[in-house]
Symmetry: D2
Subunit: 342 residues, 4 copies
Amino acid sequence: MQAIAKLRSGPGGDLIETPRPEPAPRELLVRVKAASICGTDVHIYDWDPWAAGRVKPPLVLGHEFGGIVEAVGEQVTSFRPGDLVSAETHIVCDRCYQCRVGQAHICQDVSILGVDRDGAFAEFVTIPEQNAWLNPPDMSPEVAAIQEPMGNAVHTVLAGAVAGLRVAVLGCGPIGLLSVAVARACGASAVYAVEPSAYRRGLAARLGATLTLDPRDTNPADRVRELTGGEGADVVLEMSGNPGAVVHGLRMARNGGRVSLLGLPPRPLEIDLSNDVVMRGLTLQGIAGRRMYATWYQTRELLASGQVDPAPLITHRFDLASFGKAFELVKRGECGKVVLLP
Amino acid sequence: MQAIAKLRSGPGGDLIETPRPEPAPRELLVRVKAASICGTDVHIYDWDPWAAGRVKPPLVLGHEFGGIVEAVGEQVTSFRPGDLVSAETHIVCDRCYQCRVGQAHICQDVSILGVDRDGAFAEFVTIPEQNAWLNPPDMSPEVAAIQEPMGNAVHTVLAGAVAGLRVAVLGCGPIGLLSVAVARACGASAVYAVEPSAYRRGLAARLGATLTLDPRDTNPADRVRELTGGEGADVVLEMSGNPGAVVHGLRMARNGGRVSLLGLPPRPLEIDLSNDVVMRGLTLQGIAGRRMYATWYQTRELLASGQVDPAPLITHRFDLASFGKAFELVKRGECGKVVLLP
Amino acid sequence: MQAIAKLRSGPGGDLIETPRPEPAPRELLVRVKAASICGTDVHIYDWDPWAAGRVKPPLVLGHEFGGIVEAVGEQVTSFRPGDLVSAETHIVCDRCYQCRVGQAHICQDVSILGVDRDGAFAEFVTIPEQNAWLNPPDMSPEVAAIQEPMGNAVHTVLAGAVAGLRVAVLGCGPIGLLSVAVARACGASAVYAVEPSAYRRGLAARLGATLTLDPRDTNPADRVRELTGGEGADVVLEMSGNPGAVVHGLRMARNGGRVSLLGLPPRPLEIDLSNDVVMRGLTLQGIAGRRMYATWYQTRELLASGQVDPAPLITHRFDLASFGKAFELVKRGECGKVVLLP
Amino acid sequence: MQAIAKLRSGPGGDLIETPRPEPAPRELLVRVKAASICGTDVHIYDWDPWAAGRVKPPLVLGHEFGGIVEAVGEQVTSFRPGDLVSAETHIVCDRCYQCRVGQAHICQDVSILGVDRDGAFAEFVTIPEQNAWLNPPDMSPEVAAIQEPMGNAVHTVLAGAVAGLRVAVLGCGPIGLLSVAVARACGASAVYAVEPSAYRRGLAARLGATLTLDPRDTNPADRVRELTGGEGADVVLEMSGNPGAVVHGLRMARNGGRVSLLGLPPRPLEIDLSNDVVMRGLTLQGIAGRRMYATWYQTRELLASGQVDPAPLITHRFDLASFGKAFELVKRGECGKVVLLP
């Protein structure tokens, strides 16, 4: 089969021919119909310090996908060939405290598809039965694929109340954009989207932002305070990992507000805890992955009901062989979600 | 001024001429622009056992209203003549445990406008400054009035999660109808509205119900289970007070689901706690009034943002002198919200 | 091996010789060192309507136990012979919504040890690896056994706040008694224990109740209101299943209080929802089983730290052959926890 | 009357004779029986940058106190001369969003006793009726005084679950020490107290710490991980404001744990959000003041029930004239709580 792989340490990737994998007794073999590119894939492709410290080539990249079950291992009981599935990409240990108390998304011994084992930028991928998510047969494989990043957005937005509240979203990459749509669908009365790219601000508006801000033109913390009569936003969703955005995020939150952090700053950053967090009674939440599997049910429902329409998000499609162009586009940022069609 | 009053014990009411009230030092005098009829008003009008046990005539009826501040008492500091206000109708003691810990809506020593002191079916009404809610000047007085019952709906719907969840609403009087709209605006993936009146089922559909059910045609608990693949509704909002509806509500909730009870059954009713509540891990919530004043902020935001449009709910308008027709219409139930225009 | 079994429909039980069971690939074979008698065992022994409708003889009774792993199935990875284990007695489906979102204790397709499959009143019992709980090697097998009912108490008490709050416990069977101890250990400022048996009131006092009440001498709702300056208890734990106690429980709760229901009333009962629940903003919680496995961790910690000392609870011990006397004692109620020692 | 005042900008304080204050219509005049020294008093005494930016001399210092009502303003309705009272020291605006939704402890327009208006290191002090807290007449005035800092501890500890959990307390000044006692009383299975002062580690042990650590001898994050089998503490309470302690605190928390921050770092500090917060799913809470007035009720109950005994905390007493020695002792840190007796 064809696949996009990292064959050795260092930047770049290769389109390879490799044997179709065999499912283990409790695994599914899935024929990938659509696979979308995530920032994590770019980190590995570019071989940044994080990737260099974690990834062991050779590795097939990719983890967001929708596909059709081709075959099942002998102990699989809940799926059969022909099912349209997506995957929770965190493969968890099922033994640690977190796994045993319903917090498997922060398992102490997690392994990730496309990072720690072969992924989905390929014609076929194997996944544990436990990680497979059954979709309705008429779902678009592209939407099936983006349920995984949409799950990040759903997890972040619904980690606290949003109905009737004013929400700021910092960073409008695909997960930020999906957060805009989810927040609005879940009753946010205002969604302020902060993003330097004009292209992405345009997408944010299409996905439901009530106002978009370019952080280079205006101090976003001051602007959000002004928009909220001096009070600040009830909820701040930090989706960029930009250190400046984190600081702005804390300052634009109202006293007692929630600041949910999904973006990963590339380095430690200075925070004025006394003035920006403690005395104002803020709550900061680190958000990782998706609740297993509450988030998947919520995501399914928001899609099936039409409360969230992710169509505007999917802006570009490529075949596997054009992966280089696809990665370049993602790095340039003039796109929403970019999908590979094996 | 003109007012609708209960002058003596027994059914009915009178249109009277009575002196314009004077505001106390911390009160506002408000010129009523619109006042809507609540089920409580009907109980008093009809002089049911509850009313007979509580109300002391003479009493001006009515508590849901929007109006313009005409004058303010000498110690009032936050309002001035010309402000468009609504009122939280629970006048609380500010001293009991509940008042002191942020649960004033269940104050142990509450007094209610139009029940325990003169109300708003009149040209003028006085209210404590503390109970006044400032509206934007361009809000319709009718919408200003229905913020109070909408607050009941907001309190009920948002007493737990609804985003991405399947919600059943039992009873589509005005508060039930507003609950349909609020649940949908806050991300419910399905809203099943159960109501015997075809007129009100029609309104429920207009306000966002994804399905309406006539409980005389079908067993609603069975039907909701069927609609949810056997699981049951995640959230059940009991807005009718009908004893049969309560039992259906418990049975249609999924294991671990939430059943929020706002309707007031007229008498004790039999509940199979073991099978319908304990073994299935349900949570039942008694819902009274509105959170003071978190609910008012949420309601304001849902209206101002357009997330909830209550316009279809307001179906009929009468002048004060036609109050008899208005009450008859409310009792017949072929209406949404009925508004009096003094 | 020896075992106590229900061989046919109808009251009673038999001491039998039966082959030692074989563990399936993912099961453990455990040599039972101590097994305690639960109310459920009595229902089956007495063959009450619930038991008659559910239990399929022949069946070995019993589910609360501590024992030593004797052998493990070939796919077991986390346990080995010699481990001292207890068991979560709810064997869950791992597929339903509840199992998938961290609410497995209310699984839609549960099977219970000693109810739906052979139990622990025997020299040996088999359990799924997934249900086994590893204890420290020096724990008393009796304490190992009572972690299961103590888990019910921990789940009930900690289903909401108790620290600095006034708690009423209705019914002082073993789970009620453990609830007294857990509530006090977790910061309850008062624990009012309501129980008709003088013997059990004495145990309640030893386990930490600040006051005990005989419901035949006094109206417990009135008395608790009096003790709390008219406010009512912040938290009510209904552990008896007695219909009268449920009603008293609702009436003794303060406005906005929590009423957690673990006791199983034998039949539907009348509740005045309007006055006792809705208008006073109560929250009622049905409590089933133990959170899997958060409750087990909490229970382990409360025991290991000495915050809860369950020793006074274990009042009687019998060998298997004396099971008849043991059951009679439990039915008489002049006991705390009764343990069988195979 | 005698009072300790800051008469001009700059370090130090003066014992002055000043007229007894008059209560305003809604204020109480209180004869101070005991007043304890807080770190905030030391900041003002030493005239640190925060104090220089906020305090406007002349000002009577002090805010933690217990005293007897001497006289009441004419509109006061709930107190009378002879009552033993303490004070919530945050005087709030009652108008902002936070005040209106039950979060007055983070009021946007707060004024603080002894910081923004004359305080309690004096024979008499005036306080708003709304801020007065009635104590039982037999409470020691010293304990009455320390309810205010104990409220900080109660607010911090009970801002999430602690029962059956392992808690680390960083910093054993008076509030940290009270947090140790409160956590233990509320069911914490372990309390690890981290503090460089041997004197204060000794107090921590007396107040219930299960283990004390000197952060100069050992890396506290590593040590707490070791003590918890590698998992980390479930709850971390940062009471020191020491930048190093904050970083250790994040690292010793388990994945998904709670880190409550009450200490005020004197300057911004570097945090590795990605590795220490986001990917591990931590929740950070800024904690300010006391919940008004839920915290006061909880504190009252923990004291009245004997669940918390603060006696070991109160180590030194001085008359007003010896305030210089008292402040020096507090700055040296070889003390628990230091009380002034006017």
